[in-house]
Subunit: 236 residues, 2 copies
Amino acid sequence: MQYELFYWPTIQGRGEFIRLALEEAGAEYVDVARQPGGMDRLMAALEDASTPSFAPPFIRAGGLTVGQTATILLFLGDRLNLAPREEAEGLFSHQLQLTIADLVAEVHQTHHPVAVDLYYQDQLAEAKRCARAFCAKRIPKFFDYFEGILAQPKRGGFLAGGKLSYVDLSLFQVVEGLRYAFPRAMRRLEPAYPHIVALHDRVAARPNIAAYLASPRRISFNDDGIFRHYPELDSE
Amino acid sequence: MQYELFYWPTIQGRGEFIRLALEEAGAEYVDVARQPGGMDRLMAALEDASTPSFAPPFIRAGGLTVGQTATILLFLGDRLNLAPREEAEGLFSHQLQLTIADLVAEVHQTHHPVAVDLYYQDQLAEAKRCARAFCAKRIPKFFDYFEGILAQPKRGGFLAGGKLSYVDLSLFQVVEGLRYAFPRAMRRLEPAYPHIVALHDRVAARPNIAAYLASPRRISFNDDGIFRHYPELDSE
């Protein structure tokens, strides 16, 4: 099956969680908006679907159009063999993905605490307060949670189902993004989370992921995405 | 099957989306933390599960423990006949539920724009800016989206699958909550969204929902939940 991914062409953003799943699986896919004329196709598809999306990313495959990052991963997980087959662990992987979505929303809030429609510069004072609290309290709270799960002996170093699933790829991306956005905070925090760091490294070393990260298909982090490096937000 | 719902006992919060589904279906359930000794059971269950949750709500049934509001609804939807059976519409109902989750997170941000761990009074100035932008831009953006879907002729007045599903109950709850939190803004906005208002009224009139809303099981809105009425945040 060929997959069409519709997402903004110049950022990793929420689309990156989908790209990582497609790349790990070696799936045949087109990153539509990065093709010539692709942005027009994205904007048209956003409106046209009988199951329209509130915002990108969304994916089209086999006559279906599916939006919302975690729903797309639910859809792809079965098809790409990137989700546990067993019901309890399948639900758990999805539950963890939604917890990552909550974390990602809080990351976005660090640079846009007042309004998504305002420029960063117009909410800088609020952003500094928000980012300080995020690095001091929220990263540890989320990381304590994921570390605790990875430390369960039965997990075998993966979050759900005893083998790699889409949510492991997403936690890898969270670590990558937080290292870019908050390098000083992460240097201080990471030693307390050996299982998370080990999972990150194990994902980075997978052949398809390593090839993807080294390819031009991997867009660099930049300050238009979710994870932004504003040094003034990265507390010592 | 008997369901055990674990959620804070004194607020509607995110647990209310689950309560509405259980009530509509006439399911046999225990709202654990509202029973004598229930808070201790909630705190113990939060830590103990082999599939632990980051935060309430979570649900236990048939040996499974499932967390994250939208994952719980995915789990319950099939069992309670509150989700479309067909794959495309089943995914769509879940996609819409996650869009509601995004909206709910933004509602929470209006009174806690800087940090969830800080008191409202310590982020009041930021909250005023955030709520103003939310009422002016974000409610209309989300409501335009849901109104457009409900206006599709094939929808038959429901969001997905041509009949009532959990996501209709959730959109009802969003309207209820926004009316409580931002009554002035909602009075101004609602006339532009006749399909959403009609869906709200249709849900409110369902016998099981009407009985629930009139019962002591329905906790009143208050200023500890997600939807809070702070008059200074409700713009004229």
